[in-house]
Amino acid sequence: MGKADSVFEVIGPIMIGPSSSHTAAAVRIGQISLAVMGEPVVEAIIQLHGSYALTGKGHGTDKAIIAGLLGYDAADERIKKSLAIAKEQGMKVKFQNVDLGEDYHPNTLRLLIAGTSGTHFEITAVSVGGGNISIIEINGLPIYLSGEYHTLITIHNDRPGIVAKASSLIAQSKVNISTMHVSRQRRGGLAAMAVEMDQPLPPSVISELEDQAQIVRIIPPIY
């Protein structure tokens, strides 16, 4: 767990119990996945690895992750009933215990989700303690984002220009970059970029980048 150096990291978050790492973090992973999807989720296969597979049920990880996918936050009383609500709304939900291997943190979740337009995402996330999370893969591409910042995400073909263009758009918007992560499958293959920023980006950045990337998302901080 990171060191808590502010008042509301020590007294907070306001959350639905029982566990900050297994419940509150799982809600946030669901919320961020929904934001990456960019449209309502109609189908979700949730793969639980390590400690999540062992104690996820007792901690309500299953309900928490679906609540997040429904757009609820970690303090929402509806978390307890989220599985029933998902069923009512026609969201297909399936849970699988998996072993992703020793390279993965004991608190890892992988979400295979489909949206209303048929878009699919595979998102892998880790609960790192105290309700904090990291998204570590999107569609198999290594990435890093914590959800604590305004974040720009792109999935694009690996060729010169897009990282520079994104950086210059961010600079023009007078936005400060906190972290930046770029990765690719192979030279010229699919690539992913996540930029965490201290201030929000104007939505116009999306259209400026859309002709160079398959997917562009701007996600607000999610607590």
Partner: protein
């Protein structure tokens, strides 16, 4: 902690005021905005305190629930009624947490009952207004921040002493300040309480935040009341508060992994603990 105590002493302010001022500066917000956020947290705490002793609470696993309401309804044999009721309230908040109810992590979800129950007791016993309680929450937060920065507030890192132990220290310091104790006394309350919680292991049965976590909220609350009373009497910790926090860090690092939230040791590894885990798997 020493810096915080000195700063409060020099500016003739209480620790809660200093913590609020520092937080406002750090977050670049007005003190009233920050205080407003804390009012919301206290409202959530009060709701959980009330639910814990009035509703029939059962956790998803069935391992916890109902003890707080039972304790609150009975006359204690040895404790005073006030203290017994405060313990019941601490258990109640922890039971609300285990049953997927809304709580404020303080400093963690597993130790969420201690500070709220202590502050409600102080409010009733000392006939304090809401503003005093909000200020005391900043005092508690300041103590928690110092423990987090110099040791840990995570059971996986430092055992239960880092969760319920730190919560007890936070509560003891806040109570001492509310009862009119000096910043130095607050430091002794923290040191004495944490000293009595040193070495407490994190050994949740079946990996759930229920057994022994719920009842440990009650035990830790009692330590907080004792620590505050000792400090207010003028009893001093022979070991300075920052050294006690350093000791907590050292003890936490020395704890084997089996006693740091992995559920491989302690109560989790008793024959009954293992049986319960198998049954719930």
């Amino acid at each position: 902690m020493k810096q915080l105590i000195r700063l409060a002493g020099r500016q003739k302010k209480c620790i809660g005021d200093i913590v609020l001022a520092v937080e406002a500066e750090q977050e670049d917000e007005s003190p009233s905005t920050i205080r407003g956020q804390m009012v919301i947290s206290w409202e959530v705490m009060k709701l959980a305190l009330e639910r814990g002793i009035t509703e029939d609470i059962r956790s998803v696993s069935g391992l916890s629930g109902g003890d707080a309401k039972l304790l609150f309804s009975r006359e204690p044999k040895f404790l005073s009624s006030e203290v017994s009721n405060a313990v019941a309230r601490a258990l109640g908040v922890a039971e609300v947490n285990a049953s997927m109810g809304r709580i404020v992590a303080c400093p963690t979800a597993g130790s969420c009952g201690i500070v709220p129950a202590a502050l409600l007791l102080a409010k009733e016993k000392l006939e304090l207004d809401e503003a005093a309680i909000i200020k005391a929450l900043f005092t508690a937060a300041g103590i928690g921040i110092v423990c987090s920065l110099n040791a840990s507030i995570s059971g996986a890192e430092g055992g239960c002493q880092a969760e319920c132990g730190v919560a007890a220290a936070m509560a003891a310091g806040a109570l001492t300040e509310l009862a009119g104790g000096s910043p130095t006394m607050v430091g002794h309350a923290v040191a004495l309480t944490l000293s009595n919680m040193l070495g407490l292991v994190c050994d949740p049965v079946a990996g759930l935040v229920e057994v022994p976590c719920v009842l440990r909220n009650g035990g830790a609350l009692m330590q907080a009341l004792l620590g505050a009373d000792l400090a207010l009497t003028g009893i001093k910790s022979r070991i300075p508060v920052d050294e006690v926090i350093g000791a907590m860090r050292e003890v936490g690092e020395a704890l084997p992994e089996s006693l740091r939230e992995t559920s491989l040791g302690g109560l989790a590894n008793t024959p009954t603990g293992v049986r319960l885990r198998r049954k719930l798997a």
